[in-house]
Amino acid sequence: MHDKTITELAAGLRTKEFSSVELTRYYLDRITRYDKQLNSYVTVCADQALQQAQAADQAIAAGDAVSLTGIPLAQKDIFCTDGVKTSCGSRMLDNFIAPYDAGVVARCNGAGMVMLGKTNMDEFAMGSSNETSYYGSVHNPWDPDAVPGGSSGGSAAAVAARLAPVATGTDTGGSIRQPASLCGITGLKPTYGRVSRYGMIAFASSLDQGGVMARTAEDASLLLNIIAGFDERDSTSAEQPVPDYRTTLEESLAGLKIGLPKEYFAEGLDAGVARVIDSAVDEYRKLGAQVKEISLPNTSLAVPTYYVIAPAECSSNLSRFDGVRFGYRCDNPVDLEDLYKRSRGEGFGAEVKRRIMIGTYALSAGYYDAYYLKAQRLRHLISDDFAKAFEEVDVIMGPTSPTVAFNLGEKSSDPVSMYLSDIYTIAVNLAGLPGMSIPVGFVDQRPVGLQIIGNYFGEARLLNVAHRFQQVTDWHARTPQLKG
């Protein structure tokens, strides 16, 4: 059952092969059995999930079901869920129960989906290994010594281990694509503005984007159909029509122009990963695509630009966590200053504090022009690189991450080497473009992901490109062996 895609599961529900309650129980049992070692969930909502499943079964019986009614999913713990703890992977919000659903959560609930629980993540989505979570590291289902990637490491591990058929994630600098790559699943970060940020706890508002983590491109298209769309509660949400992403999945790739940025295959890329990516590109040639080398000359500026803009925004976004109205408050504050200092000092972890300090510095009087303003200018240059590239090609491909999953603890004491693991994904966020990662092979028994970058609102094309590959390969169907 757990090897079925949500397309197959939805068919099974409709033909009454099994009920949503049975399906939900099945997944809850798997979570109980396997998640002790993976730690992919922060909260499991068994009772609520079974109630939702029951309601879904009634809807199916009454003929009121829509595409994913009764399909279980996991929500990244960054999305606010009415009545269920939303921790954002932080001690700061360990006691926080939101009084509302995020836009994404409301849409999933509205579509009759069943929320199995909330997945683990790097604290406030700041991290590339899921090691900054207050709730402990998540283990990569392919190798318990390896990280799952981050920050949506819990969602990636849960989907890879089949502890959820599908999950949501968020991506600020690669937080959907990089863990998808490291866990061997399909992840899609949509165009900035495609999915509502309402109720999604902000890390860096101009970069954050919610998306999907699934086993296949087809599954991703089904979930994206549900979560994409305008939300009047988010001023940066796009008032663009949402196509049915399923309808274009099968389109031919003959004549598809693929650009390979030479900067993505330069120094720093693991040789084994490079070989796997090359053979994936060859597969596309067989599907009729034309491949050419392109250049994104400002690629090397992406990481430094990102590490000014994202911390600057986060330093301000995280000011609301002050111990006054919600979240963690220190014991017996002697005065206001003490309340702030200790609540924030004790409530936030090291990586979050590091970024708040970097961001505060970058926005300070006298440094603003040199850092923040300059970073904004570089951001335009980076976007222009992509705009020029898309005059020549339809999609851009390359590795999602320079290496396969590294070991737990390997990079946690070296922030810069950790930051460099997002070197290929960050520019996409700076430009606001959609990007995917799909599994295309292994190095040392650890998965390798191919990144596919599309033009603005080109999600349908990306899914089509990914789907056709998955029709002729089976990397996406490989399943890790779990110890129960």
Partner: protein, 478 residues
């Protein structure tokens, strides 16, 4: 040495919208603490601001009214600082690109001259909540009802030269926002308040002196006192060879003095940057033109029209157009008086205004409406009553005894205009005062007033004064 004060004002006008600037919560004043604060106002995780369109319309209306450039593209920025009543840890404001750019405003000075004051800019921002320090036993209570209330901060050029000018400017802005119906101007409730930047320099000197900013003054009287106190303090300092330090000061209305709150060195670094949750705000020509067509006649234009159309003096026209309500009332009185423009002006700015003031009433809630006052003025104009008797009638009207005609009838206040009747009283008075008559005729002409008084006493003020004067002179001189 002669010193000159340089003053600039930052006025905070609370925009009279039903809901907040970035959320749907109500803005009504005086509700139970924290009952008008939604998730967005509380700054809960994940919530996002959505700009209230009406706020933008109001800011544009103000900009048009002060002849300002409207920022076709303005940007909301975050002003970052920690305070318990600032839920997000930053205030959403506008910094580099405000919605209203340079404009100007004409103010009338006491000597009757007018002066143009530059408006530097006006920008939109959200208000913070309130910290309540009493009744919480060593703790602080936070009321976030006010958090997210829309404010228009109107910044003047440092072109005001005295406390009186500053007050005149502030009054003019208040009148303008009330005309535009974008702010109720209620200073007690804090919907209209200001910060004053004050410095002094030797007269004739170009360079500005070091300024002090006096925060949050909420009455015209306090503005005048605080500025005067500050001018005097700084002048004394400089004359004594000292220097003024740049600082923020608070006005203590009980003690009538300003005192230091924080110096420039302690000033916060607000780390302004564009708010990534809000897109740049674009105002297009068509919308701006649509707003322009809905603007009411503004105080200056109305004043000009009152002078031209009703032949009023600058002073009367200025007083009558100081608020839209008063101007409308005047025009209604003038109409129902049958075109007695000057009398109507005198009555509205005189007895009527005094009565309102005495009973602390608004025009809409007072016992004398425009038709009643117009009716009274008609009776003065057609000589049914004298101006003096009219005051009596007005008082009775104010007490709710009916309209002018009813009161005149009931109290028998109709003026005596019958020449025979007046002559008869004059004869009686002259006969009763032979001594004064002799003195008058011997050349003591100021005794005329004495005889007028005696006749009025007998007629209980009802003799027509013009006729009485004429007849009396004729008799005395015969």
């Amino acid at each position: 040495m002669e010193w000159e004060a340089v003053i600039g004002l930052e006025i905070h006008a609370q925009l009279a919208t039903k809901s907040k600037i970035f959320s749907g919560a109500a803005t009504a004043y005086g509700a139970e603490p924290n009952t008008q604060a939604c998730a967005v106002d509380l700054g809960l995780p994940g919530v996002l601001p959505v700009l209230n369109r009406e706020v933008v319309r109001m800011a544009c209306a103000f900009g048009l009214a002060v002849d300002a450039e409207i920022g076709r593209r303005s940007v909301f920025a975050r002003k970052n600082y920690f305070y318990p009543d600032l839920p997000k840890g930053y205030q959403i404001s506008q910094y580099e690109l405000p919605i209203v750019g340079k404009g100007k405003l004409l103010i009338e000075l006491e000597d009757g001259t007018a002066k143009t004051i530059g408006v530097t800019r006006a920008h939109l921002e959200e208000d913070a909540g309130k910290s309540l320090h009493e009744d919480f036993h060593g703790m602080t209570g936070i009321d976030l009802n006010r958090a997210g209330t829309p404010l228009l901060e109107i910044v003047s050029e440092p072109e005001l030269r005295s406390a009186k000018e500053a007050v005149a400017y502030m009054k003019k802005i208040r009148s303008l926002v009330r005309y535009l119906e974008i702010c109720d101007g209620n200073m007690q409730e804090g919907s209209f308040r200001c910060d004053a930047n004050v410095s002094v320099r030797p007269k004739g000197e170009e360079k500005l002196g070091t300024r002090a900013e006096i925060k949050n003054i909420n009455s015209f009287r306090f503005v005048e006192r605080a500025i005067n106190f500050e001018i005097e303090r700084q002048t004394r300092l400089l004359e004594g060879g000292g220097t003024v330090v740049q600082e923020t000061r608070l006005y203590d209305s009980a003690k009538g003095e300003t005192r230091s709150m924080r110096s420039k060195e302690e000033a916060m670094d607000y780390r302004y940057f564009p708010d990534p949750d809000l897109l740049p705000l674009h105002v297009d020509d068509a919308w701006l033109e649509a707003i322009r067509t809905t603007l009411p006649e503004l105080p200056d234009a109305k004043k000009e029209r009152f002078m031209f159309e009703y032949g009023l003096t600058v002073y009367d026209a200025a007083v009558l157009t100081s608020s839209r309500e008063l101007a409308d009332f005047y025009e209604a009185v003038e109409k129902s008086s049958g075109g007695e423009t000057k009398l109507a002006a005198n009555w509205v700015t005189g007895d009527f205004a005094a009565a309102l003031n005495k009973d602390n009433l608004e025009i809409g809630a007072c016992p004398v409406n425009a038709a009643m006052l117009g009716g009274l003025i008609q009776r003065i104009a057609d000589n049914t009553i004298s101006g003096k008797i009219a005051k009596q009638v007005f008082e009775a009207m104010w007490e709710g005894e009916g309209d002018a005609d009813t009161i005149i009838e009931k109290k028998g206040l109709k003026q005596i205009t019958d020449i025979g009747a007046i002559e008869q009283v004059i004869d009686e008075v002259l006969a009763a005062n032979p001594e004064q008559l002799g003195q008058y005729r011997a050349g003591k002409e100021k005794l005329l007033g004495f005889f007028v008084g005696q006749v009025m006493k007998v007629t209980r003020g009802k003799a027509n004064p013009t006729q009485l004067n004429k007849l009396l002179k004729k008799k005395l001189n015969s």
